[in-house]
Amino acid sequence: MSPVQTMPPRSYHIGKDDLGADILEVAMGPHHPSTHGVFRMDLKLDGETVVDLKPVFGYLHRNHEKIAEDITYPMSMPFTDRLDYLCGMTNNWAYALSAEKLIEIKVPERAEYIRVIVAELTRLVNHCLLIGFFVNDLGALGTPLLYALREREKILDLFEVLSGARMMVNYIRFGGVRCDPPDGWLKECQRIVDAFPAFLDEYETLLTENEIIIARAQNVGVVTREEAINFSLTGPMLRASGVNYDIRKVDRYGIYDRFDFKVPIGGHGDCYDRFMVRMLEMRQSVKILKQAIRDLPEGEIMGKAPKIFRPAPGEAYGRIEAPKGELGFYLISDGTPIPYRFKVRPPSFVNLTALRHMCLGHKVADAVIILGSIDIVLGEVDR
């Protein structure tokens, strides 16, 4: 057995216990029901306490970046759907935003509104599904996840009418969106958005006051404000630690400055706060959706995009607030229709940096829910 490695930033001193037990090494994953896919954690356990943790990646490394450096800019769009496969729309938008920085394309008003609508719907899908998975890891097998799936199907139906596909939407284009919503889509969207708060109320009654969730999630996996910034955490993870940083508010990309919404902030940085921040964010998304549907103007949906997308040599980094955090695309053009460098800055991959730090000193069962509260999707972690 190798000795316990105590590495920065935080070290735990494990006294020898009475039985003189050794440190146990456990490989959790890649086939494990609570690692959310093909992710592996190499744990070192003293009894049940985690004394070291090493995340192992790459079981879903699909070479998205290498493939994208072989094909033209518009052809990469469907591949971005498959990065974070719960949130195709926001991935599309992040890529379109970066490409629109390479070639200045003015996005028409209507397209911007449609983008906001689909992005916020995506946030609803992601958050309500993630909370289902999270409490599933806590032991609430099935019920909350089934409720979340039921609501998800309603929103996926909207996406299917709009774009043709349920998950791999491939809907947003450089300079706009692919097609106009068909007749009746907005009405249906309005109906679903109006009915969503009732579901949220029910979901909150089911979960937020539950003593088991409180006991299991509070004070588990704490990240302080300074640590969160130092670890480059983004999205709900960061805001649960008390940092008021939402790219929708900071960058004001698209037309987010026109909407009135608040950014929920947590106070403790534990798993329960991360869960609650997501709950509250869904309410804010509903608020944005109501405003966007109300204000959606008539007009064009595509800007004046060049027929062959051939940017001048240069580089661009565009980022948006995806449901999981900051999703960025770093593109380098060498003047050809094919990107020279195509780099994805995936939020859940970077958020995993803090995993070891959060799990040290906790029980192995807590490591499961800490991983659940990070909200990872392996398609994005490994690309």
């Binding site: 009418v161 596909a165 491939n170 068909p182 029910e202 009654t205 003593e211």
Partner: protein, 213 residues
Amino acid sequence: MSLIGKGILKGMGVTAKNFFQSYYRKERLPTVEYPEEKATINQFSRNFPFLLYDGDDPVDGMRCTACTLCERACPPQCIYIIKDKDENGKAILSPRIFDIDTSVCMSCQLCVEVCPYEAIRMDSAFELSNENRFEGLLLNREELLKPNAYYHEIHPLEARETDDRMAAKAALAEAKKKARQKRARLAAKNKPPPGLKKTPPTRKKPPQREKSE
């Protein structure tokens, strides 16, 4: 500290409500009994591409001209086209081989967007599971060709728009052709010097001339 277990009881209330209401409220019981009931697809759903033909004969009425634009635009490169040749070995505007490998296709619809002849469209058929890897999943030209009526059946709105667009295009082409003929006739009458004949007509001219006469 309030009563311990209150939160759990509240949660159980929610599940009980869901359980009892599932007997009489549709939104609590959304199950679609798929093989007996119709699947949840709608007229905008897409799955795999197919080729359209007009008229009765699939090969004669094929809209595809083997321009290979879709082949080039396909991100996973699952389309394979070989142009047809006539007896003299000259290439003609239709594909002899048009294969789509559905085991690779990512249903992205980029081929539909680039096609200038409205020849390729997305099918919404999904019951394609197969025990046969190579024969079952590699679709050839004959399997891909479907009549326009089928398109109207699965995507009525889109098909109508396509037909309107094609009709408008055909009308424009017809008008252009007529104008060209008329011009030729006029030219034959006036016998202009041969140099003028070659000047290409600008795009807006034909309808104007028609009006003036």
